[in-house]
């Protein structure tokens, strides 16, 4: 079905637009990445409200992370997270071996320097979703070989 392609094209265009309309200083500042991440945050916030409308209440943090890895990822990217690791002290690493938004970019190391732009929105998405479920966090992403990527979630204990 062409459904996935719609979001991917829109996402790519959003990134292009943000970078094209950036002022001179902004590109080096990383303000574009922040803009993308904040967009993702608001979207994640709203999406989680919709997805958890009918689910039961979550028991604890791990339950929330599992929900993100399975149901949330499936609804947005039509697949689950391949690997979830934690050190049980507030750091979770979500590994996706074939991240949908990167598959069309390259199948190896080509264009690696552009990959962070394409991950910013998703980082925001995860952060927004977690924040709406009551979990304050910082989400970063790293790519070594496309299309696999890792999202690191650091839970902030207030």
């Amino acid at each position: 079905m062409a459904d996935e392609a719609l979001f991917q094209f829109l996402h790519n265009e959003v990134i292009q637009y943000i970078y094209k309309s950036a002022e001179h200083g902004e590109m080096e500042n990383g303000r574009c990445i922040s803009k993308l991440e904040n967009m993702g945050f608001r979207v994640g916030h709203g999406l989680i409200e919709r997805f958890t409308k009918d689910t039961v209440r979550f028991k604890d943090e791990l339950d929330v992370m599992k929900f993100i890895c399975k149901d949330f990822w499936t609804s947005v990217f039509k697949k689950q997270i391949d690997n979830l690791r934690t050190n049980h002290q507030g750091i979770y690493v979500l590994q996706d071996n074939k991240f949908r938004l990167l598959t069309q970019l390259s199948a190896g190391k080509q264009y690696l320097e552009h990959a962070p732009k394409y991950l910013a929105f998703t980082c925001g998405l995860v952060r927004g979703g977690l924040s709406n479920l009551g979990v304050k966090s910082i989400v970063t992403a790293e790519v070594s070989v496309m299309p696999a990527c890792k999202f690191q979630v650091m839970i902030q204990k207030i």
Binding site: R42, H45, T55, R57, K59
Partner: protein
């Protein structure tokens, strides 16, 4: 038919309170505020009572001499409180549940509205309309 409906944010401030205008609104605000304690108790106690820990609907929070107060918590810790008249005994549990369901659906729509910033009071006319449909009609 409710006498007062309130939506309370995760940080326990009201996002939306609407009550039947003929009566003293302050009394309803107070009732909703005190019901928050009961909601907190139910959420934290749910850890031990395995039977209903997973439900979003909290049921009857506490009855006063004139009113009955019902509660519902979403996964994002937003609380809905409905106050109904005690004299109206024909309202069954299912009806209250369906009222909460409608509230939750409308609330989700408000959340997804790009012009709504999470944390603001709810100004949506659609939400207002839906709530009016659930309140006691007074002319």
């Amino acid at each position: 038919m409710a006498v007062c409906i309130a939506v309370i944010a995760k940080e326990n401030y009201p996002l939306y309170i609407r009550s039947v205008p003929t009566q003293n609104e302050l009394k309803f605000h107070y009732t909703v505020h005190t019901s928050l304690d009961v909601v907190e108790e139910k959420i934290s106690a749910a850890g031990k009572a395995l039977a209903d820990q997973r439900e979003l609907y909290l049921g009857l929070l506490y009855p006063t001499e004139d009113y009955k107060v019902y509660g519902y918590v979403t996964n994002s810790k937003v609380k809905f409180v409905i106050v109904v008249d005690s004299s109206n005994t024909s309202l069954r549990d299912n009806e209250i549940r369906s009222m909460f369901r409608k509230l939750h659906n409308s609330f989700t729509d408000v959340m997804c509205n790009p012009f709504y910033n999470p944390g603001d009071t709810i100004q949506s006319k659609a939400f207002d309309g839906m709530v009016s449909g659930m309140m006691v009609q007074v002319s």
